[in-house]
């Protein structure tokens, strides 16, 4: 009987369930919308050496490697001998946490019978961290907010009150920020409680044996998948690049990728230098998105842990935009970071054809508005202020055998907020939020559609619009003959074109008209199944003009569909 193996399988499942519980507890108690509505958080369990054993699946590939690496930094900075039962540590160091000051990582050591057996760590995005506020406009990390080095928040059960006091004094929403930090403490505590129950049920005094089992199996499984990829690759090495909007000047990302027998190497030498504005990316975040992209394509079913991530070696030269060092500004590192997978896939497509999607909108189409009464507002009683952040997605790239997903986040996994909830958060009105026809790139498989939004304020209010978009000048490019996706468009309702990034004023009575980008197509459009073209036209994913001019339907075919639609015969 191989009893041990069965019991260990059960324990591994249980550890994954423990971190899922940890993440749930965080969502239930969090304040920041990005955590509770959109899933911008992470949670994981580590062994005593700081190796990540399991991580909850949440909306944030960006935290994958960063989380895996962070506990090691805590061990190094605090020292094992200085760790005690009842301690809790924290940081928002962009380079030792998850890439910008708005992410707070909290680590709690787990002691069982007086012995340190592991750690729980969790991260969430807080509503404010002081400085200039959330945006790309800072020139260095010093302007982006309060920096919290790795330190003890709770020392043997004793909360560091002077620190909490200092924090409260430095952020715009002190109650919520402190509430969110204690939500992190609570969720680690729930993880610890479940872990202790599990250890007592299975008679464990430490995690070493189960850790070895998990790491060994994950490593084997990852290596097997890499070996398969190595066998299937059509050449040894590929280099690809992609140019994107940047802040004031375009940025080029370059990836050099090779698949070896037992590892995958990805280097970003040749990418643009640091940008002056806060769109630079610390290496941990680069590694996370590059590794996420590679894992999806090569080893998607292996859970994230120290061993399953190790074979993916991601490097970038110091102080290029993808390895920004202190004190570069990094607040909006996601705008560039979320475009890394497209760059990596451009290279991977040369090594493993028919595996990866075409380029997509990729960067989330997020914006923040700061609303206030305009001077001409007559009825002052209805005046109000508001800070509203929304998450939105354009179209994803078409796949080798499927159309791209419309208005769906990739590589990020976060959710949008309901319009009705957003309109309760301040005097904002979303006049439109729907699919953008003709925005998906042409192809045998069509790119996913982007979306239209129209944003205004309640009568008598004006606002600042903080744009965080890309793909205005550089739309998603098609693969294997597929067409490009439509570009981002942003203008005021009076027709004045707005910038894709940065804070911009919108006067009372005007709206911001947004067209978010589509994903690119895959393969030649001539090869697209006519039935799919007919359906696309019937559903209005493509216009009559596009159906005829670009997809090659005859006028007769199109009119037949129109007749059938009137009679309700399609669907």
């Amino acid at each position: 009987m191989k009893t041990n193996s069965v019991v260990k399988q059960v324990m591994w499942n249980r550890l994954i369930s423990v971190v899922e519980e940890q993440a749930q507890a965080l969502i239930r108690t969090a304040f920041s919308t990005s955590v509770r509505e959109a899933g911008d958080l992470s949670a994981g369990v580590y062994d005593a050496q700081g190796r990540m054993l399991a991580q909850a699946v949440t909306g944030t590939p960006g935290h994958v490697n960063a989380m895996a690496a962070s506990v090691a930094h805590f061990i190094r900075r605090i020292g094992i001998d200085n760790m005690f039962e009842g301690d809790v540590y924290l940081t928002n160091d962009p380079w030792e946490g998850t890439g910008h000051l708005h992410d707070i990582t909290v680590v709690s050591p787990s002691f069982v019978n007086g012995k340190l057996i592991g750690f729980f760590a969790s991260t969430s995005h807080v509503v404010d961290i002081g400085g200039r506020g959330f945006g790309a406009d800072a020139a260095s990390v010093y302007e982006e907010g309060l920096y919290i080095p790795i330190m003890k928040l709770i020392d043997k059960g004793e909360v560091d009150q002077p620190f909490v006091h200092l924090l409260r004094g430095n952020v715009r929403e002190p109650e919520q920020v402190v509430g969110d930090i204690f939500a992190l403490v609570t969720c680690n505590g729930i993880g610890h409680k479940r872990l202790v129950e599990m250890m007592s049920e299975f008679g464990l005094s430490d995690l070493q044996e189960i850790a070895e089992f998990i790491l060994h199996n994950s490593k084997q499984a990852t290596l097997e998948r890499i070996a398969v990829a190595c066998q299937n690759r059509v050449k040894n090495e590929a280099v690809a690049s992609m140019t994107i909007d940047g802040y004031d000047t375009p940025i080029t990302l370059v990836a050099r990728l090779s698949i070896e027998e037992n590892k995958v190497l990805c280097d970003f030498a040749g990418s643009s230098n640091l940008d002056k504005k806060g769109i630079n990316v610390p290496l941990v975040y680069t590694q996370a998105y590059a590794c996420y992209a590679l894992k999806c394509a090569i080893a998607p079913t292996v859970p994230n842990n120290a061993a399953s991530l190790a074979p993916f070696e991601i490097t970038a030269p110091k102080n290029c935009i993808l390895n920004a060092l202190h004190p570069a500004p990094v607040a909006l590192r996601h705008v560039v970071g979320q475009l890394i997978p497209d760059t990596v896939y451009n290279a991977l497509d040369q090594l493993l054809p028919k595996t990866v999607p075409a380029e997509g909108s990729s960067t989330l189409c997020n914006f923040q508005v700061s609303l206030r009464p305009s001077p001409e507002l007559e009825n002052k009683e209805r005046a109000c202020h508001g800070e509203v952040l929304t998450f939105n997605s354009g179209g994803a790239g078409a796949r080798p055998t499927k159309d791209g997903l419309s208005a769906t986040a990739f590589p990020s996994g976060v959710m949008t907020m309901p319009v009705e909830a957003t309109e309760h958060a301040g005097p904002i009105i979303i006049w439109r939020k729907e699919l953008r026809p003709d925005s998906g790139g042409l192809g045998k498989y069509r790119g996913g559609l982007g979306q239209y939004m129209e944003v205004g304020a309640m009568a008598g209010h004006e606002f600042d619009f903080q744009a965080m978009f890309d793909r205005v000048e550089h739309p998603a490019r098609g693969r294997q003959g597929g067409g490009d996706g439509a570009a981002t468009k942003i203008e005021r309702s009076n027709g004045k074109v707005m910038r894709g990034k940065g804070k911009q004023f919108v006067p009372n009575g005007q709206r911001v008209m947004l067209a978010f980008p589509g994903g690119a197509g895959y393969g030649d459009v001539d090869k697209r199944d006519t039935d799919l073209i007919r359906q696309d036209f019937a559903k209005g994913y493509i216009s009559k003009k596009a159906a005829i001019d670009q997809y090659g339907l005859s006028l007769d075919q199109v009119e037949k569909i129109e007749q059938a639609l009137i009679k309700g015969e399609l669907g």
Binding site: N217, P300, S393, E434, K539
Partner: protein
């Protein structure tokens, strides 16, 4: 006449079987008869009539003597899963045509590059828009022009729709535009059925509300026609009594309400199961119960506090991707809150790329069934593993109607799992059941933590065909000390229907911060909700007392998740800001350890549940152990907790008298199933027929 003197029939149409339970009052007690008939999909009423005749025959009565029929059905759920609804259109606010298609704009599976999202119930060409707009405080920003509605209605008539859903932004605050659309439709297309989002699901969050009203419209013609056919067939059988429907929230509504709001029938069968468990909990005076219902394809787990199943305002139906959260469609109606996972007797096992055994959600179903059924199934199912481990008697399954073939089970386990993992069939079976039990335990744990509960204080009540085989082990895994397995476990949902009260929950999304608490508005709001809910219940029962339960959903301003806070009638009628604050903080602390100082608190949803008083349950004292039960045989049984084979005592459930006990390892057999008692547990027969299994 109260329920005690009525002859009542409970009918549950399930995926495979239609269960019928008849209760006939006697001088002292109530006699209960049950039958199981195969569900007749083409005309589901046929199975009901068959089953009804069978139980009437057993009871020696004629159908016309039946005083009341309570009915629950999976037909609504199936129509949504199989997309077999009516030709339906949606009329929505201009600019928001794609809400039900864009969903949450996220992927429910992060690592699958070839992920497919579920298609919306209505394709884009069936979604029409009108120019209009309500603001977030219910004020009209753009008035709806009647002429615009007429244009759309004309198109709808020309396209020949049977049913129309109306979902406009912020209509939960102001329904006047939705009503105008209905008015025009009624005038110009009276034959078209109409559903308004402000009536079906008056709650904030447009994706959930629109999807719910679309689902309602989509299944309305089908359910309306089924219910009227059923009434006709019953009349033909001379059954003149009223028919009521079980709804998703665990209460009963009139057949007219059901036809108007058929989406409320979704998952009514499992809701009946939860009511069944709640009734047993009341009998034993148990305040904390976990109900565990395991059938052929899925297992359902529900928390029952103080004899009331936990309820929720939104759930997901028709999950398309391994029961994964987010892969189905949200329905926001009052519902008994359950987790459902793809783990049943027929769930199939395989080995994944990590060399781990995975079980479900694919199921062998009834054809071909598990390998041991000997009907051509080649993959190992949970039942195969149960057989190989000695939990099932090959000759005594389903009352001896199916002979289980252990050789087939061994082969399937060896080929699919053993060869790949270098294990023998027994070890593979052990691995398989441990994985499926662990999956269920994990689902229960996560559900408990989402609700801030600690399962170790709970009693489990287990029913459904496969539950008694797995419940003991599940209790070991969850640290639950007490387990009850009721008699009649195979038709638990249908019995549950007969225990349910008439009830209806009315609710509204109205945002109010405690710092801006308006007691007049609150009073009025509760009054309106109470009269709306009470009216529904009055339709069902003219004479009974109607109780009102008041509940609000609250959170700290800035949080996204509300917690339910119950109010007494007095607290609702004389609302005070301080009372609300105190109740919220108490509840929050119970769930998450500590309140958050200095934050404003807000109320988001207001609900009043009107209900007839629950059945008076005769409490029974828990019976302590008396005589050693009569052991009919001894057989080998594999014990996962000990990882070894033990000699298990075999006891026939019907031979057990009150107080008879058996110490595990033991197998208590009966016609429908087998109860496995692990070595760590002791089983005692109770006066009401339950088997009480307690940790030693």
């Amino acid at each position: 006449m109260d329920d005690k003197q009525r002859i009542r029939l409970g009918v549950d149409i399930g995926g495979t079987f239609t269960d019928v339970v008849l209760e006939v009052p006697d001088q002292q007690s109530t006699r209960q008869y049950s039958s199981k008939v195969l569900t007749t999909y083409a005309a589901p009423e046929n199975a009901i009539i068959d089953g009804m005749q069978q139980v009437c025959c057993k009871a020696g009565i004629i159908p016309s003597q039946i005083d009341q029929i309570i009915h629950g059905t999976t037909l609504a759920t199936n129509a949504l899963i199989e997309r077999k609804g009516a030709k339906t259109a949606l009329i929505t606010t201009q600019g928001f045509r794609d809400v039900i298609e864009m969903r949450t704009e996220s992927r429910f599976e992060q690592y699958d590059l070839n992920l497919t999202l579920p298609e919306p119930l209505l394709p884009r060409q069936r979604r029409y828009t009108v120019e209009e707009r309500m603001g977030a405080s219910g004020d009209v920003l753009i008035p709806l022009q009647r002429a615009d509605v007429e244009t759309v209605v004309k198109a709808i008539i020309e396209a020949g729709y049977e049913s129309v859903a109306v979902g406009l932004l912020h209509s939960y605050l102001n329904d006047s535009h939705e009503r105008l659309v209905r008015e025009v439709l009624a005038e110009q297309a009276p034959e078209v059925m109409v559903s308004l989002s402000s009536e079906v699901s008056p709650q904030m969050r447009e994706y959930e509300r629109f999807n719910t009203v679309v689902a309602n419209a989509y299944i309305k013609p089908l359910m309306k026609s089924y219910l009227s056919r059923l009434e006709r067939r019953l009349r033909d059988e001379k059954v003149g009594c009223a028919v009521f429907l079980m709804h998703s929230g665990g209460g009963i509504i009139s057949i007219e309400s059901a036809a108007e709001f058929p989406v409320r029938l979704v998952e009514s069968g499992p809701a009946g199961g939860a009511v069944f468990a709640a009734n047993i909990a009341a009998r034993y005076g148990l305040d904390k119960v976990l109900s565990f219902d395991m059938g052929g394809t899925t297992a359902k787990i529900c928390l029952i506090n103080k004899q009331t199943p936990k309820t929720s305002r939104v759930f997901e139906v028709a999950r398309t991707y391994r029961f994964k959260k987010g892969s189905g469609m949200p329905i926001s109606i009052p519902v008994i809150d359950m987790v459902e996972i793809g783990a049943g007797g027929g769930s199939l096992a395989h080995v994944d790329s990590m060399r781990q055994i995975r079980v479900g959600p694919e199921s062998a179903g009834s054809e071909p069934g598990p390998a041991c059924y000997n009907r051509g199934g080649e993959k190992p199912a949970v039942t195969d593993a149960d057989l190989v481990l000695g939990k099932l008697d090959p000759n005594g399954f389903a009352g001896g109607s199916i002979n289980l073939n252990i050789e087939n089970a061994n082969t399937a386990l060896t080929v699919e799992l053993g060869h790949k993992l270098n294990m023998d069939a027994l070890t593979a079976a052990y691995g398989l059941v441990e994985v499926v039990d662990e999956n269920m335990a994990n689902a229960a744990r996560v559900h408990a933590v989402e609700n801030g509960e600690d399962l170790t204080e709970f009693t489990m009540i287990a029913f459904g065909g496969a539950a008694p085989l797995h419940a003991g082990r599940l209790c070991e895994k969850l640290g639950i000390n007490r387990l009850l397995i009721p008699s009649g476990a195979g038709v638990g949902s249908a019995i549950g229907f007969l225990r349910a009260s008439f009830s209806f929950e009315a609710n509204r999304s109205v945002f109010m911060r405690l710092s801006e608490f308006d007691s007049c508005q609150v009073k009025l709001l509760f009054e309106n909700l109470a009269s709306e809910a009470t009216e529904f219940v009055r339709d069902c029962d003219q004479n009974s007392t109607v109780l009102a339960e008041y509940k609000v959903y609250m959170r700290y301003s800035g949080q996204g998740w509300e917690i339910p806070v119950s109010l007494t009638e007095a607290q609702a009628n004389e609302p005070h800001q301080e009372t609300f604050k105190r109740l919220f903080e108490t509840q929050y602390t119970a769930l998450f350890g500590r309140p958050v100082d200095g934050m404003d608190i807000e109320i988001t949803v207001w609900a009043v549940n009107a209900t007839t008083p629950p059945d008076q349950v005769a409490k029974i004292g828990e019976c302590t152990k008396g005589q050693l039960a009569n052991v009919s045989a001894v057989r080998d049984l594999f014990e996962p907790a000990l990882a070894e084979i033990k000699k298990a005592k075999v006891v026939n459930r019907h031979d057990m008298s009150n107080g008879d006990y058996v110490q595990g390892p033991a197998a208590i057999t009966e016609e429908e199933t087998t109860i496995i008692v692990p070595s760590s547990r002791l089983a005692i027969k109770q006066p009401d027929g339950c088997i009480y299994i307690v940790r030693q």
